[in-house]
Symmetry: C2
Subunit: 436 residues, 2 copies
């Protein structure tokens, strides 16, 4: 960048996809989601102008609150020079999350944090674009110290200090090139959710699972929790189709209390599930720990509703999860994702981000690649959830071949929507919603 750039505008849209019309995404707690995004484009002055795109993900009603949340953050950034932020993304993050009045609304949770995520990721997108690099490569180019300084360690240091994080990154230097080549050649492993939404009938499920096996997928997830007998029938059907060698995961979407979860999973253990996802309230760290202890060797996975790294820290400390599924649109953007990856590495927990939704895979693929190459150095137990819809609305959609994500190579965070999609799905003015 030859000239100085100041932030001059936020363009924010309430984007909603009418997914509930096909019951895509249906589960035991969310029967009719309309996958939605509060989508922001941040632009600078200067020559050439810079732009960055970010979004948070919701499932419909209430998306307007996230749009309003992004607007509430706007005054913190308008007129500020971006070069100073890019030189110290840790200070940038504390600036956005530290407003002394807005933090009362969280802190670091709920609508204001969802909005924060959109804004923080938009600035990382802008940073990566300005360097002409995909986000994962931008991160690879930063020193261990600079990466660690992106994270606010104040509330984490009883588990991992800034210097401990630097050590983890230093130790992972060895083998980085080989791992990058491996991902470039083979892609990052995925698993598929497309087959087993609760709203589908048995024959639809059987057909979709067969197609997915033929496509090369090695891991499958089904929704459970609404009806024990139906769950047993469907688990038997899927296990029959995938055979003993492929993984079957289960997802209860917070349906149960602690003892109920333990009982229910006892009755599904015969189908050899790899993990149960969200067995109870996402706030119940200690409850998850009790469940994990009781149902081992079935693993406990959770995270898509966990709002920040302080709570993930405790899930790690308490043994509340065996698989970390942070959501790239719920935690406070790239900075918090880095904190979570480093904490997970400290505790030896595999990270399998929440994918699907709208654009979650587009974001998560960058952090997964970075995690393998530069943090964990490990693919064991790591898979990125793949759901095959809505990718067509992104300028740089994920590419999946034979059940593996190809490395993204275009500059930025893959977070930009196509202008036609913005036009079509703006709520309530877009063509997709008019006359509804």
């Amino acid at each position: 960048m030859s000239t100085s750039h100041r932030i001059r505008s936020f363009e924010v849209h309430d984007i909603r996809f009418p997914t509930s019309r096909d019951r895509l995404g249906s589960d035991a707690v969310h029967p009719d989601p309309d996958y939605s995004m509060a989508y922001v484009t941040i632009r600078t002055d200067g020559t050439p102008e810079l732009e960055g795109h970010g979004f948070t993900f919701t499932i419909g009603r209430g998306n307007e609150l996230c749009v309003a949340g992004i607007h509430a953050l706007e005054p913190l950034l308008l007129g500020k020079p971006v070069e100073a932020f890019f030189a110290d993304m840790g200070s940038f993050w504390r600036h956005v999350t530290g407003d002394d009045q807005l933090r009362w609304l969280g802190p670091d949770k709920g609508v204001i944090h969802l909005a924060t995520c959109a804004v923080v990721n938009a600035m990382w997108d802008m940073y990566a674009r300005s360097e002409g690099l995909p986000l994962w490569r931008l991160l690879l180019g930063m020193s261990p110290e600079a990466l660690a300084d992106c994270v606010d360690w104040r509330y984490l240091s009883d588990a991992l200090s800034r210097d401990g994080a630097v050590d983890i990154l230093e130790r992972a230097r060895e083998g980085r090139e080989a791992r990058e080549q491996e991902l470039a050649r083979d892609g990052y492993p995925g698993y598929t959710m497309a087959a087993a939404w609760l709203g589908f009938d048995d024959e639809q499920v059987r057909e979709l699972v067969r197609e997915a096996v033929a496509d090369g997928w090695g891991a499958f997830k089904m929704k459970v929790g609404a009806d024990p007998e139906a769950d047993r029938r469907r688990a038997a059907l899927i296990r029959e189709e995938i055979g003993p060698g492929r993984a079957l995961m289960m997802d209860a979407n917070q349906r149960w209390g602690v003892s109920e979860a333990i009982d229910y999973m006892g009755r599904l253990a015969g189908f050899d599930p790899l993990f149960i996802e969200e067995p109870t309230s996402p706030d119940d760290i200690l409850g998850h720990a009790s469940i994990a202890k009781a149902i081992a060797p079935i693993l406990v996975a959770t995270g898509e509703h966990v709002p920040n790294m302080v709570i993930f820290k405790q899930f790690f400390q308490a043994g509340g999860l065996n698989v970390c599924q942070y959501d790239p649109c719920r935690v406070g953007g790239v900075n918090e994702m880095l904190g979570i990856l480093l904490l997970a590495a400290r505790f030896g927990i595999p990270v399998c981000p929440h994918g699907g939704g709208a654009g979650l895979d587009e974001l998560a693929q960058h952090l997964c690649a970075f995690d393998y190459i530069a943090v964990s150095g490990d693919l064991d137990g790591r898979v990125l959830e793949y759901v095959g819809h809505l990718h067509e609305h992104f300028r740089d959609p994920v590419t999946v071949r034979h059940g593996r994500f190809r490395l993204p190579e275009r500059p930025g965070f893959s977070s930009a929507l196509r202008p036609e999609a913005v036009e079509m799905y703006r709520f309530p003015e877009g063509d997709a919603w008019r006359g509804q």
Copy 2:
């Protein structure tokens, strides 16, 4: 009520008091709050019309998000008959908190939960008004079973079941009348915060403490955490004024990490603080437990930023707090407050709600009276925080004499603002804000 009543309107206002002009409420993390409320009046049709008032509390910017959150909940209630809700307030609560799309924004935390609190409390206010009773008396008139059924036990039952809650309430029947007479005679004990905001200078503090001692206050709280030397000087000053017999509490407003909190309180232990409030992140249950263990016999108090009863349950289970300070405008209204009171009784933890703010004492006094008379039966270690401003804007303000809260006797939840206050402090149109 002779006729059936359906909810016909929500009137919602963004109310802000310009408290930052006097640095009222200043602390180590929130230097310039403008105490604010997203205020809702819910009205029915029928003869006579019923109305209920509720609000959430924020400290300024972002209050508009809570206003929008209340509007997002409006479609869940419009047109619904209130008698069915009043007959089963537990189902009402699950209806308001269970919208399958809105819950993605929480669940049960952040802006949508602050808004939920306003709506739930407005409906309890309407219920109490319709019965011609102050809220605490309405609750006293409900059976143990009906009270327990107000609470959603799904995620609590590993600590306390619905039947266990009924037992607690049954056991507390003995002595209820005597305790009610005692409160009617003596009032409910308070403590004062008015003396020691960080923005005040030493001489202001000394004068205010002297006045408060003369007024009969027995417990005092000071803000700490911004500057160790200034804190030692101020603690010495206050301890000198109040003598050894009165309680000195300290409040760090989340300023520290875990080990920092332990070190810092080691240096203030000589002033014999009763408790340290919010020593670290309000999300860090396990961190609080480590601090509590290390600094005993100094107690750990927290809760004003804890969003729901599932998280309080874990604070109790883990020993993360010795004093429970739920905020009557942050948790999900009366239903969650009942759950918290019952859990606290199960674990033997005193409850001292977060007071002050705008209208927090007006609400909390009802739950405090109910807790003493019908749940805990105990005043040991229980005090309600009192801050002496903004009460004049309420139709039925708290009455405090000699450091004790008089029992409220007017029908409802003391949650209605005076119409002149709404007019004056509406943001940004009210006279208090025009020309700013």
